[in-house]
Point group: C2
Chain length 435, copies 2
Amino acid sequence: MTDSVQILELNAFRSASPPTEPGSHLGRRLRNFGAASVLFYREPIEMVSASGPWIIAADGRRYLDFYNNVPSVGHCHPRVVAAVASQMAKININTRYLCPIVDDYLDKLKDTLPSALSNVIMTCSGSEANDLALRIAAEASGGTGFVVTENAYHGNTRYVTEISPAAQKVAVRPNYVATIPAPSESGSVGEEFAKNLRTAICALESRQQKFAGFICDSIFSSDGIFSDPAGFLKLAVTETRKAGGVFIADEVQPGFARSGETFWGFARHGITPDIVTMGKPMGNGFPMAAMATRPDLLVRFCKDVGYFNTFGGNPVAAAAGLAVLDVIRDEGLQENALQIGQYLKGRLSDIARSRRRIGAIRGAGLFLGVDICRDGRPDAAATSNVINRLKEHGVLVGAAGRTASTLKLRPPLCLTTTEADIFADALEKALSKVD
Amino acid sequence: MTDSVQILELNAFRSASPPTEPGSHLGRRLRNFGAASVLFYREPIEMVSASGPWIIAADGRRYLDFYNNVPSVGHCHPRVVAAVASQMAKININTRYLCPIVDDYLDKLKDTLPSALSNVIMTCSGSEANDLALRIAAEASGGTGFVVTENAYHGNTRYVTEISPAAQKVAVRPNYVATIPAPSESGSVGEEFAKNLRTAICALESRQQKFAGFICDSIFSSDGIFSDPAGFLKLAVTETRKAGGVFIADEVQPGFARSGETFWGFARHGITPDIVTMGKPMGNGFPMAAMATRPDLLVRFCKDVGYFNTFGGNPVAAAAGLAVLDVIRDEGLQENALQIGQYLKGRLSDIARSRRRIGAIRGAGLFLGVDICRDGRPDAAATSNVINRLKEHGVLVGAAGRTASTLKLRPPLCLTTTEADIFADALEKALSKVD
């Protein structure tokens, strides 16, 4: 998985000594989840309540959440909770009947998107949205081959797992998938990235896999967070279209104002994707996701199969989604992400001057990556060490990148300067023990 | 789709004359959903509120819901609404942290399942659960080939759509899928069904597709509802295992007490599946689903890929799921489904004696199928006609089966005798106009 370094995979069948007393919560979990148990930290935390960027654990400790990008407008935001509770008590039904709130939501959501992407399909998860996006791209292009980045993560269905190197413990490289390195943020980023894409398309075609499309997350989260210079994706999009492919912007990670500069990650690059997928923060925890595309692409796809999703686009999801959009606007969260993100980046740069363990600091808004190094090289062990020490200091954070040596910072967008300082101070302390 | 006969596919791009005034709700919907618009009835109904088995439309009319099997304990059940609202206000986080309510739920859910199926993976939709189940079966068997029924529907991801003939407008028959006819309910049902399965397995192997498994919905919903004689699935399961395959019980439709006799549809047949998938009524509308299996199958799968689902198994889903299990128990809904189902079947049989349009009446509990015929043969046009007339009489119902000539009855499990009578009376009136 993308967060492998700080995940202790508590596997009752393979792990030698997990604390599995039958009566303990951990013991119950291992019996229930079995080999699929994936828990953070060697001593997993039991959580009981949360508010804003704070989570309270069963032992009374509170944690500043710099990890979870689902409760993006703040944990348990009262407006989202109220909207869900009220709509659930009224009606919750599928989209084969009309419910005005569903179209109220889609109209508002579309106001944030390029006007060309006027059709939206609502799903339950980003995985479902990406699975569908790949199928639409294949149908539109008449192709099968996809290009992804080397440590891309796009979800958990069979199709989407196959194109997600980061999801594979044992590398599966289906013939129809070609990978390219994540962008470098140095030199001619756009030219280099487009050149690699061109090479990958050629590789696919040499394997008799007609190019169907290029899918990427514009913040390159699982690759290690690469955002700059804004605009570098333009050439890759041009290249994709020149080769007859479809460009899919996976906005599950960067979407919904996280980058601060723009509402969508792709907008920072000044591009209009053919398909946009979104999920995680869309309902602040209510399970919902979506795929937006051009009518002409959807018509072609629906001719042969069509698509219906039982839970997707139900009125409760619409109520949650509307509340999230309203909160982002009313609380100025995009601006806040920009300002607090800049402030935090400043503090991180200050720390980097005195702490040689910090390498590059990348990212936009409240989606930042901090490389942890030893003698200028990525150091996964030190990164893991920092993450565990940050936990001791009451901060939750994860790692990203192929070598899992980049701290991945994604606090709720309502973060304050004080809370940014709490993180920065904790990081400084954690680094002092690692040095 | 499975409900094709009564679905008017309002496609702005292909339909000649949908009422698409730009300001109308229908106009907005068509602009938002585009070619993926799927709405019931030529004049789609706008719904505003719902309670128990009743839905209130925008024009003030109320409809008795005999169609939707998601709000299975009754639309907007106050205990489910309260459980979701309360948990959402407290904490909603992913399963990489511990939350006792998640394991409280899984412990209770597992009490309803065979003890061998002790590992559960929570997902957002039945589609995700089935997609995962197929992958686990393939891994466990070392095979690729699956057998399904001729009009099976198992969901909407790419993988699951490929094995769902009912989801395909244009038939796709990948090499790895073989179909068998739905069970007949006449003659030696079990022997015939197992014989067909054996033939299909041979067909797969003649195409160099090693048999991976057999997946079916034990009520055969989209095939036209075939439930009897209980036990007929036993031989097919034996045949599946003899051929080295995995038996997957898709309980998305029959699960959670709907059949009245047992909590799970497979239990009516006295079988223990290798994998059970579930969804729709699991959270009474809160998007959640799951897959239960044996630890040994999960270990093998997790060795190579593992699985994590961001929204799956969150504490709010657990709260919804717990409330559903509690309501089924406290309100005696399984017993009610059995009793009211028998009563309804009796009324339908009485009607059948005077109305020659009714052919066979099948099903268990509150999952019934009623064939609509002309001269003893399936009549899709008459079925569609009956469905539209039932709407005029304030009853929502759908069609099932390859020829879409079976009325599919799935009211909430809290249905009363009075409400069963309202349906039966409306059906009698509708049939009188069709005859």
